[in-house]
Amino acid sequence: MSDPIDRDAAERVARLQFASGVLKNYGREGTKALRKLTRALRVIHDALAYELMRDGLTVFVPLEEGSLLIDGIRTDSAQLPSLVKGGATIEVRDSNDYCLQPTASDPRDFADTAVVYHFDGADHFVIDGELQEVINQTSYPSVFGLPTFYELGDALTDYRDNRALYSQCPILSKCWHDENRWLLADSPEQYMRDSLHDFLSVTLRGHKNIDIRPEQPIDGEHTPDIKVMWTVTNRTAYIEVKWLGKSVSKKKKLAKHTEVRARKGAGQLAVYLARDQEAAPRQQRAGYLAVFDARRWGVSLETTSLKDEHALYYETQDIDYNPDFSELRHDFERPRRFFLSPRLAPS
């Protein structure tokens, strides 16, 4: 009979999981300090954008409560963005009470008497005197900087503003044909769908399962791209993903999707919701249309320059849905448009 345990996975996890390393190096005092440190990291990462941390961020909690390891500016999370430029060393003293040196430092210098975290594009802890990278099963730079949401609608709003707008998500950033973000690559929808799925999986609380649905219609019926199911309740949400703009095929041909595409997506979703209601009348369902809008005015394969007002022409142009299913159906939520901003020339 084969071994039911994946020994490689067990060994890998035991070696690389930082909580285990902290317990090994510092004992119970260390894991107590680790709780305080990870609570602080969420607040600090929320306050400081990754891009502000070019020179590295070191955050630590002394093992001995009350001991002070650095002299610096006494501050809180609200002041951090104005004080930190490029790199920082932060001693966590209490909840939202920090001592800041606004310069980078060698994180190993503090590891004799503190549990130490370091960020330089990825999360690390100092274990056995060396920097050890944190297992990160998300596609984001830090597992500690992610927001969490109670409502799907709030998560979609945050995704629009903080992931999609400037294509900050590493999966979504692959959907572009060019660095200026004027034209989309071939089959961009897979990156859009995967990016949204990845974001919801790690930020949406209370979900049981978030599935990417098969791309091909089954039994002639179009299934929405993403299905979200919650634990305990019988709520299910369906998300239909559509994109607008121009994409470049592998044969260098342009494919153009106008707002007609968004209206068609709304119709498909409404039909699906109606059929699902008949099939499972006791289920509470909600349908979301997520439209990734990469439209630019007057762009073609030959375009070498584009005025900002043309690149941003569609930024505030909402789509006119007629019929408006969010008015007609109680389970059809207001469609969400994620405008994908171009890279603008420095002014």
Binding site: D6, V13, S20, K24, T31, T38, T148, K208
Partner: protein, 199 residues
Amino acid sequence: MAGAALDVLAITSHLQHDAGGAMEGEIHSFAYLGCLVSFYDRDDPAWWRYRFTATSAGAPYAHALSEALEALGAAGALLPGSRGLVLSDLGEAQLNLLRGSSLGERDHYLEAATATALMMPLPTVPAAITLEPQLRRALKWSATTELLEPDGLDLIRKQFDAVTKGLSEEKIDAREDLMVPAVLWLSYLLDEQQSSSSK
């Protein structure tokens, strides 16, 4: 049942402190994780006092917790907040009372379970728990099944032993802080799933 009431209040209190509140599904998931951690520590599945089932959707569920949630809500000990359920002053007082009783030891396991959400994104913890072998089986068969059966517990015990083997070899007792074996086990389930889906 007082054990389930303490579990609901303690999990809500921990998640309220770290995440602004607790969702009903999270209470079932973290209580199940606490139960498994107590089993790892004590090797006595009956110690937890109430049973869990796997819903056909592959999530852990305890009827005792649902009843406690309803009773505590009706009594005003739990209130709906913008980020899930939170404790009222009455809820805080009830929790303190229960923590001081013979049931207080349960919170040792619940704290370890909820502290795992400080080590990984909170939504990842309930998602990882659904990868537990008994829950995965329930999802595969789309059937409600009893959890904590001897075969299932035996496999979970083996998984905990495998992930804490390295610490044991260095003469470090993983029970010194039960958050550590709990987070190692969850990371193992996620890693195992990731490796099997990439094959």
